[in-house]
Symmetry: C2
Subunit: 226 residues, 2 copies
């Protein structure tokens, strides 16, 4: 055992002898590369080898910095997923009780998060939404604990005050809202492919979503209020 073993915790310490002629912290780079690759291929289907290769290092580096794959994904969650999603909560808490404001806050918040972390939607869809996803439990217990319930609750209050379409179910509205925002983001490449080469304009999507939620599909009788 002459090997240096950071085993449980990150080495971090700068200043030590590191031959890395590369850019910033390798540890960070590994997380970034992994986030992108996990989003592309899925966590289970992505080999540590592939990550290491894309990061131009040996697979052993992953073991050096993170231990095993489980702890690696754990680190990814702690240091990428959680910080990325955190702003959404604030967005929502700042929004008033008006359901339209809530909806807009949610859609705008998701939009910003996605803009900053393009890898997030595919990862979320794959690993949280789907049944066998690796991040299911974690997402619920740590990332957005009872955020869906909180949102539904506020919709329910708005509905009781007559501010929300009475035909809607507050909880299903949350589901719809997520579907309208995260789903298109996750599928951006596909829409591009389906509807010609144009990039999916996130601003346009946001406005469209709000317009849809404002009036529905029927021809609007009054002007919009955005």
């Amino acid at each position: 055992m002459t090997t240096a073993k950071p085993s449980s915790r990150h080495p971090r310490s700068r200043g030590a002898g590191r031959p890395s002629g590369d850019d910033g912290d390798l540890r960070e780079r590994l997380l970034d590369v992994a986030a992108a690759q996990f989003a592309r291929t899925g966590i289970e289907a992505t080999s540590l080898r592939a990550i290491a290769t894309e990061a131009r290092v040996t697979p052993a580096m992953l073991h050096y910095y993170f231990g095993d794959k489980a702890r690696f994904t754990q680190a990814l969650i702690e240091e990428r997923l959680l910080p990325a999603v955190a702003p959404l909560r604030e967005h929502l808490e700042q929004a008033g009780d008006d359901p339209r404001a809530l909806v807009e806050a949610f859609a705008r918040g998701v939009g910003e998060i996605v803009a900053r972390n393009p890898w997030l939607p595919p990862l979320w869809v794959r690993e949280v939404l789907c049944e066998g996803g690796s991040l299911r439990e974690l997402m619920f217990s740590r990332v957005v604990p009872n955020l869906p319930q909180m949102l539904a609750q506020r919709f329910a209050v708005a509905q009781a005050r007559g501010l929300l379409n009475a035909a809607l179910d507050p909880r299903l509205l949350v589901v719809s809202l997520v579907g309208l925002t995260l789903f298109p983001a996750a599928g951006a490449p596909i829409w591009r492919r389906a509807f010609g080469a144009e990039e999916l304009d996130t601003d346009a999507l946001l406005n469209h979503t709000l317009a849809l939620l404002d009036h529905g599909v029927g021809a609007a009788e009054s002007g919009d209020s955005s």
Copy 2:
């Protein structure tokens, strides 16, 4: 080479000596098991061994009936995915030009398909929507060739006639529609988990979606028309 080799094509033929004390065609069963497992774990991350194990047979059976993994998934697409999705096209073609009717036809069609093939939404989300999905190209070229464009086109026509909210983009409306229908279906387990133990009622979801698309989130001024 004393081995029987159906190599290129399905053996199919009944009447021959088959020790299988099991139920129907093993070939079919393998496809069903695989569909479920692929939906749960993802195609890449699912081993042939796992499929064989769950089907209570040897991995060699997969090779016997299908060849390699690529041809196996190909068969799954041809014999499960394509037939499953086919009805949607008819549904849409029968619907009139009224956007509400179109929307309802789509939502109802998706609902029926999902009810019949619970494995479809997760598989679709994973393998078609996401970038690294294995079925991307195939889906577009074979399963629903230019169906999105067709839908968008009809929305555009309706819009030109003043039947559709002018603030909407026909193509983005298609995106929203898919998000509102497929996404909740794919995430059914999660909503169950998020909002207590109740099953996600697909009928309720359908009605909710239609209500949302009819009037938006604002308090409705007129009675519903369902």
